[in-house]
């Protein structure tokens, strides 16, 4: 569905590539996690996978970059918008401000897609429920708490029902239950609607529990790729500044196994 082949990208006026010869192939219906230290290139990769690189950011690219077999550079953001959704890292700037209430704010994207009213209403109600903010629907999207604002930002993109959903640290302001619920909801979308979800996160436990595949970045390069357990339990994560779950850390001190547990279930099994 999305393919990068030896893809490099330089932000305008920089010497160091932000992405350095990254090769990656993403199939429909995959749930993919991206990990990496701050500055490793997670956000840039998110922009590339959603087409904002090269369409919004200028700068140099090298290598291949295709979406459904078409060269990404030949498509435009307007066409991509209905198919690929991007949730940004910082919730504070994602509110369009073009509308008054949370409900209307979520509608903004749907209006741009030209959906009929009845369809919009159904989608908005569904999105509000998915991120659990039904009770905020008639409030102003500006006078809410940090976590509530992040939920609004996510709901606004979810309602657009893109085939590919890219999320850049979407749970940074969410409470623990909210984070788990968000992952559960995304997982459900992947299995029922066969959408593709790509998610950059520091919260390793939830990546480990829900993702099909994890990609580790370091200094703009792809450093590891594979099943969550294989990637996240390795010592390399410590060197990359990603860290490991406390399940892995505890088990590392207690067990001699080839592959350390990374989730609660795995840890429970290993330590029983």
């Amino acid at each position: 569905m999305i393919e990068l082949k030896k893809f490099s990208y330089w932000y305008p006026g920089t010497e160091q590539p932000a992405l350095d010869r990254v090769s990656l192939s993403i199939a429909e219906g995959e749930f993919i996690g991206i990990v990496g230290a701050n500055g490793a290139g997670k956000s840039t990769l998110c922009y590339a996978l959603s087409g904002f690189v090269p369409h919004f950011y200028n700068g140099e690219t090298e290598g291949q970059h295709t979406f459904n077999g078409q060269d990404m550079a030949s498509l435009d953001l307007g066409q991509l918008a209905g198919q690929v959704g991007l949730v940004f890292q910082n919730p504070f700037n994602q509110i369009s401000g073009a509308r008054f209430t949370v409900r209307e704010e979520i509608a903004f994207g749907l209006e741009n897609l030209g959906l009929p009213q009845s369809e919009m209403r159904a989608r908005i109600d569904e999105a509000l429920e998915l991120v659990n903010i039904q009770d905020l629907a008639e409030r102003s999207p500006f006078s809410v708490s940090g976590g509530q604002q992040q939920r609004i930002a996510i709901a606004s993109i979810l309602a657009m029902q893109p085939r590919v959903l890219v999320l850049d640290e979407p749970t940074s302001q969410l409470d623990p239950d909210g984070t788990r619920d968000m992952f559960t909801a995304l997982n459900k979308l992947v299995s029922t609607r066969k959408i593709t979800v790509i998610l950059a996160e520091h919260k390793l436990e939830w990546l480990a529990t829900f993702c099909d595949r994890v990609i580790a970045l370091g200094g703009g390069k792809l450093r590891a790729e594979g099943s969550p357990q294989a990637v996240l339990s390795s010592e390399q994560m410590l060197r990359l500044g990603v860290g490991r779950t406390q399940y892995s850390e505890a088990a590392a001190r207690l067990l001699r196994t080839k592959q350390l547990p990374v989730t609660l279930e795995q840890a429970k099994k290993a330590l029983k």
């Binding site: 209905g82 008054f100 509608a107 994207g109 741009n112 209403r121 102003s140």
Partner: protein, 259 residues
Amino acid sequence: MRGGSIYIERSSGLHWLHPLTKVALTALCFASAAALPGLPWLLALFVGLLLPLAIWGRLTGAFLKACLLVVGPFVLSLTIIQGFFSGGETVLFKLGRFAFTQEGLLAGLTFAARLLVALGGTLLLMQSTPQPHLMQALTERGFPPRIAYVVLTAIQIFPSFQDRAQVIMDAQQARGLELQSGLLNRARLLLPMVGPLILGSVMDVSERAMALEARAFSSPARKTSLNTLADSLLQRAVRWLLALAAAALLLWRLWSALQ
């Protein structure tokens, strides 16, 4: 509250009117401001039309206050300037070499009244219409959405600047900046305020532009709207009448000027 606006929420008939009806009304106000011949006419329009509308919209206090705030300074400066410098026979009083004349006073007041009528109409429109609904009404009539968004955020920028300014002011105080009255202190405040305000908005612009794209803003699809703006045959008729009246006024003015 961030992202607030001049709009004042009330449940009233004026609020409920279709935005374009109010736009037509505002157009009439502008035409009147330009075309009506003298002070009595202008004041009559204000007292006879705008004020009753404000009362109908349950906005009387807010409307008068805003008029005073916006037009007040003009009234003052215009009357002073015109009073002293536009000449005339009837001297009211003298300040050194300068004479303040009745004709000048009248000219100044008339000019201010023109402003009052034009701005009053605009204020009434803004206070009784959520700006997004106004933009929706315009885009539904073929106004380009991109321009609508820019206009919209420009209108909202003042209040959102204010909100943002508040947030930043909070932060500076939390870092020991004393917010006392006194001109010098206020001036000292300016830099730490303006810095993040401008920086913030520049940063915001690129991030916001991106966030807009993510919301399919440049999608080729024909845009739709969540809410249908209530309209009626009567309102359509009234709109046409208002527009005609405005055009007639302007034409009449042009014709009498040419005479």
